[in-house]
Amino acid sequence: MALAGRLRMPPGRTLWHRRRPRAAIGGHLIMSGSLLLAIVILGAVLAPLLSPWGPEEIDFSAFLAPPSAAHPLGTDGNGMDLWSRVLYAARIDVGIAIAAVALAVVSGSLVGGLVGYVGGWIDEVAMRLTDIVQAFPAFILALTVSAMFGSGLFNLTVAIGLIFAPAYVRIMRSEIRALRGRGFVEAAECAGNSRVSILFRHLFPNALTPVLVIAPLNCGWAMLTLAGLSFLGLGVPIPQAEWGAMISAGAADVVGGRWWTSIFPGAALFVSVFGFNLIGEGFLDRSKSG
């Protein structure tokens, strides 16, 4: 997992200072990133048409076979077709990454918005809790959560969402706090709107942009996190097609020269993450210049 993870995201602290009016480039980045992702997603959707093999179908005549006409990317140790598995795996990897980040955005924003709006000791406590979660080594957190509830896809999504949520809590909180003193909020308060309605009608919509801007970057990172978890052996159930698990299953064979089992799934993972990162960069550019 991007266990070096916190470095991969724009934490809004220290590292990412950017001052470049490069919206034009941003457009290109978003375009090319979307294109890459579109290819990956199209491959996942059309997988049944693109490969005669099911992702978990065993070819008893080809165990760990190198790329050939029958199996364009070869087969793995279970005799399963890698081309087919690489395609199908996108459903899991891209799907979980987006779901986990969506979960983090929603839950993190809600919590961050609430504590930022309410303030006081609740805010203090919430901030310390996010400190704690963020100081916790990510892989231990993810592994414990997924071990606690079993290695189902849903639990993985929750585990990864949990790792990402604190960042959104922070961002949303600071946005809300900045907005709180603004005129339109005070006006709404004077007009006798309830706090809940102020929060949902006035504050959230205005604070969402910075939250959504970093979401694509986080999707890329979430995908790396998922694959990393699988690589360590506690990700998806077997023999589910998932890139990290496939890389892991072939890792031992790379040294012996059977490179295809790990290299292809890794390349697919890289391309997808790269796609998300391109989009994320583009978003950042736009938001900075816009």
Binding site: M1, A2, L7, W16, R20, P137, T144
Partner: protein, 324 residues
Amino acid sequence: MLAPVLVGVSIFCFLLIRVLPGDPVLAIVPETATPEDIERTRARYGLDRPLPEQYGAYMAGVIRGDFGDSIRTGRPVVEQIGERLPRTLELVALGFLLSLGASIVLGLFAALHAGRLGDHVSRVTALVANSLPEFWLGLVLILVFFAILDIAPGPTGRIATGIDYEIITGSLIVDSIFTGNPRALVSALHHLVLPVLTLAVIVVAPMMRSVRASALEVMRSDSYRCALAHGLGAKTLLFGYVLRETMVRVPVLAALVLGNLIGGSVLVETVFSWQGFGQWALRGLLLRDYPVIQAYVLVTASFYVVAFLVADIVQAALDPRIRV
């Protein structure tokens, strides 16, 4: 804010691993054990006591510098940290240095070509590096440099077998220099190349951005424009102003990278069979070796928290008004 967070982390960790399914005692007793045997073993590690009491005893130990004994091996956890942590630190420190060098070059290059092709190229390069799964990158490097070209050692740990060496600090480089053991030094360096490269690639992107950003900041500052207007040479400008400014940021970068990588090295360690701190913790987690996991979490969280503290302090000291 340091201590409360760490106490919070320790409580959180303590509770989290105890609600995990899996029992460390069952992993170490032989299957012939009767329920009484199991209870006795449980008592031996104090795991039969109420949780607050266990936690109190644990923290009392931690304050004395005693992290308890590993349930799996019976050895003091502190001793094992002393063995494992230097291995990881060595890897991470070198990865950081390499990455720093690369990011200064790339970052300055990008800043000097800001908005032009060179900038875009270096930016996309950083994005590519940022998108690589480190465990896969490690495997690709092994495939190319070991399996195909055969110029790097296989992923067999930190040193070739058959070389005798003495352990003082736990860092093979330091130890082999201290003991005047060139053979060990060469082998250790050889084994470090690929894992260090892998780590360096994955952290180069954020560091390069930082270098680029601060370089741009300098180039837009009044004093720089003034110097430029006075016709100072390009070299003086580059080294006297821009580079100096970026170097000032190094401590912050170092703190952040180290703080994050100590807890983030487990994948690279696994690929290269490094037997470092992260792999130790992973094994501890799988066997529910509570003292091991607790110690690991506390140590990495401390690194992380201290890193941010250092970063904040240095940042404050570098207040823009007194800069350049």
